[in-house]
Assembly symmetry: D2
Homo-oligomer: 276 residues x 4
């Protein structure tokens, strides 16, 4: 709070006082109603995706997530279905009437993604991949900009400036945990980033408790905390059969766990003047 | 979650399955009703303390906090009123009929503290001062054990074992933020520690959003998040006149800010099955 | 050291026992002779680059560094001379007979870089930009892979696997400091990564003390420590006139400071069985 | 380096420009000759201590270390021989004619320690135990002040002020690694703290590579790096039989490993104008 110089400009409240609201289809992000994005870490098959899409939509989610191009730590891990994954996302989106979001990993893919998905995600490891930020800034597709797991809020808002500077005003920030010494969780969810972002920026902020926690049993507690603290929504990993997930099964909720969580979120949202 | 060996024993759920509830006067910590501890960082004068005590009690706090022996980073900073501070705490406690908690910094003071205050606090910098843990373990006074700002949850529960091993079962854990690279807050509140502690330990856990945030404007958001995530209570810095506080004024709420926050916490507590 | 599973394969000593040595022109990296890479943070002009090249070569450096495409935190900061910078690097390299290294930031630029420079650098913020790793893996140009400032050594070696897996065996690791809570330096140089890499990997490792320290006055001490600890070389920022540098002037050595450091490094290198 | 306010005073170069030199018996710390402190983590028996003392002295160490009161994470771990350990240290010191250093953990023990040992150590977990700092400040015994594993250099020098303010000028700083996300070492040795301390403070600084690394195989590399970077000495764990050590055997050197390291340090020390 003693920061003297704020290097971000376009994402600041000084530049734009009122909250930014972003629309995709019928869904608005940053308004009174919270947005819940749910789905599997990786798109695996038509069956898996359709089952998840119907399930999470029924439970109250308004956007489907699923990875087609997976940025994996090792080159020998499953890298995603790639273009076939995008096609499955588009087909599912149309049949289930639910917008979809997926992660981009290459500057050359922006046009491709714009054809297939509603929202483009920049992953944590690419938050300071300035070429990629510039590339999605040239699109008008809404962008979920995940926080780099070792980047400050200041650096995050400055990264958002790269997208805004190219003419794309539709940036949704997503807190997903930062790297610390604590070893009982995969990352440490930085709850404080919610009020800090709300204070200094007009951009909406959602929270991904799944990657932060790294374990499904901790997700509901973090999700509730995030909503009570003022987040504009959540991004949650849900898999119809976590035990058989190709990626990150341990942190995925089942459909019934997700459904219970959605019910529990309703009164908390109301307590802070929001709707689910 | 991949931890193979849990070095803590007495604080674990394996050792004791049901939640520990701790009583002091009429107040129970770890039960259905949340406990809110409020007061100034440092005891400064009779006036300041009485005014705060009446104010926070009226707003719904059930325990008064205030530092008499202050562990300050520099020897040239105000070190607290020491014994005179303990006397003021006792007098205020009796007149306002509210239990008090204050921090101990020397093994030789346990008896003195037991005479004057209801709950003894071990500060973050002393979480692994094993002599001090052992000393308060020999008392029966409830102990608020603040998390070391760079200690893991595992180390925290193992530190609690030092107190429990001496025969004092009355340990209240207090999350107060951990040290990370993030520089827009003083520390990073580790929200995840709440569900992790609830999963592995029977001890109650409260949250201090004031030291974590370092700025009053962020406190309400963190306080709400902590309650929604399942904390058993809060410890909040409140000062009748933060601008003139001798210590940590920037992170203190005014009495009216605190009162508003208490009102806002009621529906959130209810959402998670708790009372304020 | 209790790591059970090592996810990296191709970069491991199990895969290849003897040290990898990499050649570019007359220079060998990973052999008995230490390699010192020196030059300005950003290529600014022909004059600046030529002056630096002559100066650092005379002082004993064997490779020239200089940024043409600059990954800057803010889109409103100087972004480098881009292709004109590459041209200056090539011209200088030919006139001064010194190989050059510069940072790549976009997958589409690999061919361009291969035409203009001897060694391609992947910067810290792109260490887990897997598309970029794959792209440079398809080239045969040596690659300096800087450590992500919040990535573990394990993740670093696994990132190297992405390059090796594409058929490019010429990976030079570069430790440049990690992000911690310490605020008297820009990053914390992780000296331990040198023996850890030497123990588990066959790849050469050099150290960049300039970015770690963030201040020229600390660079000589860190440079000496790195060589004594077993690093295969150094990458140091040198500018003919740091006070007027467009980027990172505060952490740049003058040519005479650099020359003095090179002299001081000679006996330390000999102490550990190396030549400068 | 952008720090505006330096809260430490007595430990600063502004307060005292020339380097502080501290004497104990024939040994001087902070002078031209490096000081090497070596010995087991814990005093276990007369045999173990005598064997180590003779061995490390013969190899060139000038001070013997050994823990009598052990601050252990768990109350169920071996806590040291306590007073019997102090007696063994004194007896060994007299027979081998080597000064001894051991860690204090309770404010009530200062007089006791002053009777038995030459140098008193404040451990990392007690660096901000201000009562203990004040207590040893009232003695005239030299104090090794280990850096708190999550404290900044600024906080460390301010902690030194507590000792200096009480009238004890004999403070030896000891860097022993800080807590970070890196998991291939126990802590991350912060090499930069050496030039930072040298720049801002007149106090001598030594380095403990054993606790930082957590594994004996990494110790020689870190020890060499520390000396080349300008440290005034080392504190190294040595055990005649690490496999049977009660505490921290994995990070202890054997006597022959230690002897080889001492030989290797000689030319490095000379390279930076020091003697071993």
């Amino acid at each position: 709070m003693t920061r003297i110089m704020k290097p971000y400009k376009l994402s600041s409240r000084e530049f734009k006082a009122e909250n930014t609201r972003i629309s995709t289809g019928d869904v608005e992000i940053g308004g009174e109603r919270l947005v819940v994005i749910a789905g599997p870490c990786a798109v695996e098959s038509e069956d898996q995706l359709m089952q998840t899409a119907y399930g999470v939509k029924k439970a109250g989610a308004s956007i489907l997530r699923g990875g087609a191009f997976k940025p994996r730590t090792s080159p020998f891990s499953f890298q995603g279905l790639k273009k076939a994954g995008l096609e499955l996302l588009k087909a599912t989106s149309e049949r289930c009437k639910i917008p979809v979001v997926t992660e981009i990993v290459d500057t050359q893919d922006v046009e491709l993604f714009s054809e297939y998905v509603d929202i483009i995600q920049i992953g944590s490891r690419n938050m300071q991949n300035f070429s990629l930020l510039t590339a999605v800034g040239k699109s008008q597709r809404p962008v979920v900009l995940k926080r780099g797991f070792s980047c400050t809020v200041t650096e995050w808002l400055t990264a958002a400036d790269y997208i805004l500077a190219e003419g794309n005003p539709n940036v949704i920030l997503c807190e997903r945990g930062i790297r610390t010494f604590e070893d009982s969780t995969r990352f440490s969810l930085d709850l404080s980033s919610i009020p800090v972002v709300k204070k200094y920026s007009h951009l909406p902020i959602i929270v991904d408790p799944s990657h932060a926690a790294g374990h499904f049993s901790l997700v509901p507690s973090l999700a509730k905390g995030a909503i009570a603290a003022g987040a504009d929504g959540l991004m949650i990993e849900v898999h119809p059969n976590p035990a058989e997930a190709l990626v990150d099964g341990l942190q995925s909720l089942t459909l019934s766990d997700f459904s219970r969580l959605m019910t529990e979120l309703v009164p908390i949202a109301q307590s802070v003047g929001r709707l689910v």
